[in-house]
Amino acid sequence: MPSRGKKRPLPSGIDTNDGPLSAAPAIELHDVSKRFGARWALARLSYTLPQGASLLLTGHNGSGKTTLLRLVSTVTAPTLGTLKILGLDARADRMKVREQVTLLSHANFHYEDLTAKQNLELVAKLRGAPGLPAKVDGLLDKVGLKARVDSPVRQFSAGMRKRLAVARMLLLQPKLALLDEPFGELDPQGIAQMEAIMAELKANGTTLVLATHLLEQGKRLTDVSLHLENGRQVA
């Protein structure tokens, strides 16, 4: 338990300058396994990713990429093994972890019957940090949804939903951004935009974990890679 004796992380969680946390790795998996029903989606995975690095996660469909990202986001907990995110225990300090991590996934968390703007405003208010609601309009503009801010998500195409999800991620200002197939459902222009956004996040010191089948873009944006097969680490 390397970080146990050190200073406790700042409770506010959202400050981005290098505090006492900078030493702790962004992700520390120790012998992590996850079972769904009778199937082991992840088996005995150990891996450490330093802060500021970016990781490319590869593997076939069903290899455990999404499960791994969901575990790291703390939305589910590992069946066996321990998991530390930014030096915090993913189980005990779950709420603090969540203030610093975002998950962008195919299930994009939107309420279908609310408008794009209402969805983001809800997120901003629930996060409760001052100044967040004021950023909503700017972010919607940035992801190219300005014309449709007052349409319910139900009327959105898959690509627009993805754009809204990106705005949501940016709104939450993560220290660790987990991106599950971020290029899926986007048009070529959207892919380029997505790439630019990720490069910007990376430049700001955000740790990225990117699971994608688009190896070309993926390799451009990341420093290290992890390949999963049947829930096990291959390389």
Binding site: S33, R35, F36, G37, A38, W40, A43, R44, T79, L80, E229, N230, G231, R232, V234
Partner: protein, 251 residues
């Protein structure tokens, strides 16, 4: 036979239960002891209940069904109390032992409750003229069985062992807390046309036979729960076997 006999046996049985809970080596043979005591007591039971005990003044011979009916409902309550304790224990500290024990006790509890309620309805027919008189005790017991059948259904409907254990613990707690409220509501609801009230002074011989039956059923309950627990625990162990056991070929 001295009237104190069943109480003495009961003390022995409870002692053995405690030993079963805390001394691992006892667990290998204790169920045989429970079964043995139950069988011996069961052989004497018909004589005690049907001939030795005096007939009840108003209900006559029919009342003898009480010696089977009442202890079974008691045992159901006991088993469901065990289920509640296991549910709380599981939420405080995750363990497959308490989960398996919760499953075993709920199932055995529902079984004893169902038999007890059926016997109660059979008793009601000659006594009150109908099988079902909305007697508060019988009604509460019947609803209790329905609640716990829902509990057992939930267990069947969730495949993931962790989620099943957690959710059924939550439901076990909610269900058990419901029982006293249920009892009061049914009692008040039926207070207007309640027929029988029984401020009777019970014959000590009757009490003795009732205790005899209760001790016998406690032994049976223990045997049932111990065996059902073993099945449930083995099933759980197979379900949660570590990844190596399931995919030996991989790295």
């Amino acid at each position: 036979m001295p009237l104190i006999t069943p109480l003495l046996i009961l003390v022995g049985v409870v002692g053995l239960l405690l030993a079963h809970a805390f001394v691992p080596s006892v667990r290998r043979w204790s169920w045989k002891a429970f079964l043995g005591i139950a069988v011996v007591m069961f052989l004497v039971q018909p004589y005690l209940a049907l001939s030795w005990a005096p007939p009840e003044r108003e209900m006559g011979e029919v009342q003898r069904i009480m010696y089977m009916h009442v202890p079974q409902v008691w045992m159901a309550l006991l088993a469901l109390t065990l289920n509640f304790c296991c549910s709380v224990a599981f939420l405080l500290k995750k363990s497959w032992v308490t989960d398996a024990l919760a499953e075993a006790s709920a199932e055995v509890g529902v079984y004893f409750g169902a038999v007890g309620v059926t016997l109660g309805a059979i008793w009601a027919k000659p006594t009150w003229g109908v099988y079902w008189d909305w007697d508060p005790r019988l009604t509460t017991a019947a609803i209790m069985i329905v609640i716990y059948m829902g509990y057992l259904t939930l267990r069947r409907f969730v495949e993931d062992p962790e989620k099943r254990a957690t959710w059924s613990s939550v439901m076990g707690i909610i269900s058990y807390v419901d029982l006293p409220v249920l009892w009061f509501s049914v009692k008040w609801w039926n207070s207007l046309h309640q027929v029988q009230s029984s401020p009777k002074t019970v014959d000590p011989d009757m009490t003795m036979v009732l205790r005899w039956s209760a001790t016998m059923f406690l032994c049976l309950l223990s045997v049932f729960i111990i065996h059902r627990f073993r099945v449930a625990y083995a099933a759980r162990q197979a379900e949660v076997a570590p990844p190596e056991a399931l995919a030996p070929g991989a790295a």
